[in-house]
């Protein structure tokens, strides 16, 4: 357990304010046995109350549109009893001060939909500690019993007399109070900020166009750069002719950047290329058109042929993910076996803000980065390793990201910017073009799933087997089966010869796991003549075998009853919301899918499609979600709306094709995104059926979209679509 007394520390601020910081030795239980990092000093404050009563909340988690900073600020403000209108949120920069602390906590990365969930306890405790200190300061000032002093909306009020003092007036005295070891936390019934739909804290700057993303940043003495990368992985510049480039006004330098080998996530390295450096991005872009490079020829693979290769490889065992009962032997003598294969192409992120980083590595010893990154801490480690400098010499200034979705967890763009800055001895801003972003992505892996099920005489699943092959080691089968079975075998194979870089694409492995599982269960339901929702509920209610084991969840036995209950609840609720049993016109089809992201965030969706002679249209999406306690309902709805569009895009427009090792797509004309016209009507219902703590909301609603659409198209047309894009002839 955490010793709160040791990890929060108070300090006064110049002018009479009060700051509560993470400080001191890291929690004993976590740091035991380490001994190298004795613990940093005071970390940048988590909560600051100014002498005027303004509240500044600093958040470990980065903002990329998922609302984490607003949500996390609300959690701290709730316990602080702050006046929400007085609250501002600030990003924490990565620096040596934060390193020791964040390393212990793993907090300084943003991904996996963990933000609110992981900050829930820390930020409530910090807010409550600050509030208690303000109360104590007021009680001391008035010389009254603290039990008569309540904190409300930025004031401490003495109930018997009605006297009140604003937080600003109390801040200096509060700083001198001891930090409470175990501050009382509010009862959820008393929440006045959590549960409200407060709009995003940075909305005003965004709508006025004044919010600075890293691509908008301009620093003194900064040069601009673009990088021309090799078209195929492993290719090198044999020669290049930059004479025409250099003649252009505003071009400073054109030079080769070596590939980078050392990054844990870039298994085949970061490609390097030719850097063009000048006095503006526009000058570099113009020069780029005049650059003539001869690249070394490299034989690269094709994405299309991978599916065939995967089909041949599928019986090769690799990682056994889940087992139960007699495993594959359960199929012996089976009378009724259903099987089907499902395909996921590579997919790119299409971040609206192309990647961009400013680096100052002029002295080759100290590195400063200005960028929007999901992984400041991981990036600092990679930068330190790549350039053989001390992590303590690295500072990363964080920016709001113009989309992240997993792509900005990868730090290739930071390493490139640092390499260019080091070579030049100047501060440089590296801007990626849209073409760079699409062609040098970190792609959702290409994957093929092969499912088999043996059914008993009543149509129940007796044996279930999944063999999954993916271009990334995470592979398949990371989901828990809430559906019943007697025998189970889930196997995944990692195909190591991907022609392109793997990546984490919003909802990551769950997207692919759910895609195949939720279409397959639908195929079984249809095969036995059952209603798809009734069949899912009936199969969910069947108990799992006692020996059900999964490589991703070691407390399945304890959790399964609740997980099964919640899956049934969201399915029942979505049936009602969508009026599932109401007859629809002949050309309209309904399809359902359900998922539980990280076994915590439940989402059931019913999709309504209209099919015509020229194809289909996704008209309506009904969403029922249970992701525990809802911190900000409108924000969660926004994430669901966003996720539906994210899930819809590859269904309509497909993924990325690789031909001869090169990505065929290059911009939004050949990698379209869903638009206003594609946007379906959405009806969303949020529940917390069993009073659980908050669970992630950034990705969970992506995963049921594609399988639900496939199931709806089947329902309308009888045609079963098992890959992307989904097209009707």
């Amino acid at each position: 357990m955490i010793s709160r007394r040791r990890f929060l520390r108070a300090a006064g601020l110049a002018g009479g304010g009060f700051a509560l910081s993470l400080a001191g030795a890291a929690p004993t239980a976590v740091s035991a046995g380490r001994g190298d990092d004795a613990g940093p000093g005071l970390l940048g404050p988590l909560i600051e109350v100014s002498e005027h009563g303004a509240v500044l909340i600093r958040v470990f988690k980065q903002e990329m549109g998922q609302g984490a900073q607003t949500g996390i600020a609300m959690i701290a403000a709730e316990e602080l009893e702050a006046d929400w209108n007085a609250v501002q949120v600030r990003r924490l920069d990565f620096s040596r001060e934060i390193e020791g602390y964040a390393e212990e906590w793993g907090r300084f990365g943003t991904g996996g939909s963990y933000s609110v969930e992981s900050e829930w306890t820390l930020m409530r405790t910090a807010g409550a500690s600050a509030r208690e200190m303000l109360r104590r300061a007021a009680a001391a000032r008035w010389r009254v019993d603290i039990r008569d002093c309540i904190a409300r909306n930025g004031f401490v009020i003495h109930r018997p007399s009605g006297r009140r003092l604003g937080y600003g007036e109390l801040a200096a005295a509060a700083a001198r109070q001891p930090v409470p070891a175990d501050p009382p936390l509010k009862h959820p019934d008393d929440y006045s900020i959590i549960g409200r739909s407060h709009p995003g804290l940075e909305n005003r700057a965004i709508v006025r166009g004044t919010l600075r993303y890293s691509i908008d940043e301009s620093l003194p003495d900064m040069l601009h750069a673009v990088l021309v990368r090799p078209p195929v992985r492993g290719s090198r510049p044999l020669s290049f002719d930059a004479r025409e480039c250099r003649k252009l006004a505003g071009i400073e330098s054109v030079f080769a950047v070596e590939p980078t080998a050392r990054d844990a996530m870039f298994d085949k390295g970061i490609p390097g290329g030719i850097a063009i450096v000048g006095h503006s991005t526009w000058a570099c872009l113009k020069a780029r058109r005049l650059l003539d490079v001869e690249w070394s020829p490299v034989e690269g693979g094709d994405s299309e042929s991978l599916y065939r290769i995967f089909d041949e490889l599928r019986e090769i065992p690799d990682v056994e993910r889940q087992t139960a009962g007699r495993q594959l032997a359960g199929f012996d003598g089976a009378e009724r076996v259903i099987e089907a294969a499902y395909q996921n192409p590579y997919m790119a992120h299409g971040l609206m803000e192309p990647l961009c980083a400013i680096a100052d590595f002029s002295d080759r010893k100290h590195l400063q980065i200005w960028a929007g990154t999901q992984s400041p801490q991981y990036s600092a480690h990679q930068l330190a390793a790549n350039f053989a400098i001390d992590k303590a010499a690295i500072t990363i200034h964080n920016y709001r990201m113009g989309g992240g979705y997993g792509r900005r967890y990868f730090c290739d763009f930071l390493i490139e910017a640092a390499a260019i800055s080091r070579a030049l001895g100047r501060k440089v801003k590296l801007t990626w073009t849209r073409e760079d972003e699409i062609r040098f992505g970190a792609y959702h892996p290409l994957r093929r799933d092969h499912y088999r099920a043996a059914l008993d005489a009543d149509g129940n699943i007796d044996s279930l087997a999944l063999s999954s092959i993916s271009t990334h080691e995470w592979g398949g089968g990371e989901m828990t089966y809430f559906y019943g079975f007697n025998h189970l075998h889930v196997n995944s194979h990692h195909y190591r010869d991907s022609p392109v870089q793997w990546g984490s694409w919003r909802s990551v492995v769950k997207h692919q796991d759910t895609f195949s599982r939720e279409i397959f269960i639908d195929e079984i339901a249809r095969a036995v003549g059952a209603d798809p929702i009734d069949y899912r509920i009936a199969q969910t209610r069947r108990p799992a075998p006692d020996d059900y084991r999964s490589s991703h969840n070691d407390s399945l036995e304890a959790q399964l009853p609740q997980l099964k209950r919640l899956q049934v609840r969201v399915l029942e609720a979505v049936a009602e919301l969508s009026q599932w049993r109401r007859p629809r016109p002949k050309n309209t089809g309904l399809g359902v899918a359900v998922s539980a992201y990280h076994d915590r965030s439940f989402c059931a969706q019913v999709v309504e499609v209209e099919c015509g002679e020229t194809g289909y249209r996704v008209v309506r999406v009904y969403v029922v979600a249970d992701c525990g306690l809802i911190v900000n309902p409108n924000l969660v709805r926004g994430q669901i709306e966003s996720s539906v569009l994210w899930g819809l895009t590859p269904v309509l427009y497909g993924g990325i094709d690789v031909v001869g090792g090169a990505v065929r797509q290059s911009n939004f004309h050949d990698m379209p995104l869903a638009t206003m016209v594609d946007c379906p009507e959405m009806r969303i219902e949020l529940h917390d059926f069993e009073g659980r703590p908050p669970a992630g909301v950034g990705e969970f609603a992506v995963v049921p979209v594609a399988p639900a659409i496939s199931n709806a198209i089947f329902s309308a047309t009888g045609r079963r679509l098992r890959g992307f894009p989904m097209q009707l002839p």
Partner: protein, 159 residues
């Protein structure tokens, strides 16, 4: 010299820079970074500005073609300092922005739409609002446009 107005201020650019897209002139010469670079081929709409009152994708307009033009960017949409256009207010109230990067372009496209169609239906919105939003905030953009249109009608405020 080529001269034109940006947000009611006269600016000039040399003939030699005539091929520079308005997008980069705004961002790098004037520091008006509310106009965003998204695709550079006029598809995504993140760089939408008004040229003589019409929504235009700034990455596709070389400054050499702009002599005498009047340009409004997101920074100049509301007029005075601190003021907000009804669309900007609606965007905040509906809580449209997620990552927010495309939103200045979306608002500029919506402002041009309301000028030509003060009470747009969903069909008008589908036709005019072709800007991309990777966060998929489309249903809120739609709501915010209806909300602002309603307010403009009741207030009789010029858009």
């Amino acid at each position: 010299m080529i001269q034109f107005d940006v947000n009611r201020r006269r600016v000039s650019v040399t003939e030699a820079d005539g091929d520079m897209p308005l997008l980069w002139f705004l961002r790098e010469s004037l520091g008006l970074t509310g106009t965003k670079y998204g695709c550079g081929i006029g598809l995504c709409g993140a760089c939408t500005v008004h040229i003589d009152g019409r929504a235009v994708r700034a990455c596709q307009r070389p400054v050499g073609t702009l002599a005498g033009a009047s340009i409004t960017t997101i920074e100049g949409l509301a007029g005075g300092a601190g003021a907000l256009h009804p669309l900007q207010r609606a965007w905040m109230e509906v809580d449209v922005p997620q990552c927010g990067y495309c939103q200045s372009g979306q608002i500029m496209a919506a402002a041009a739409l309301l000028k030509s169609v003060p009470q747009p239906g969903n069909g008008d919105i589908n036709t005019h609002m072709t800007n991309l939003c990777r966060c998929g905030s489309y249903s809120r953009i739609r709501r915010a446009i209806h909300r602002a249109a309603g307010q403009l009608q009741s207030e009789g405020e010029p858009s």
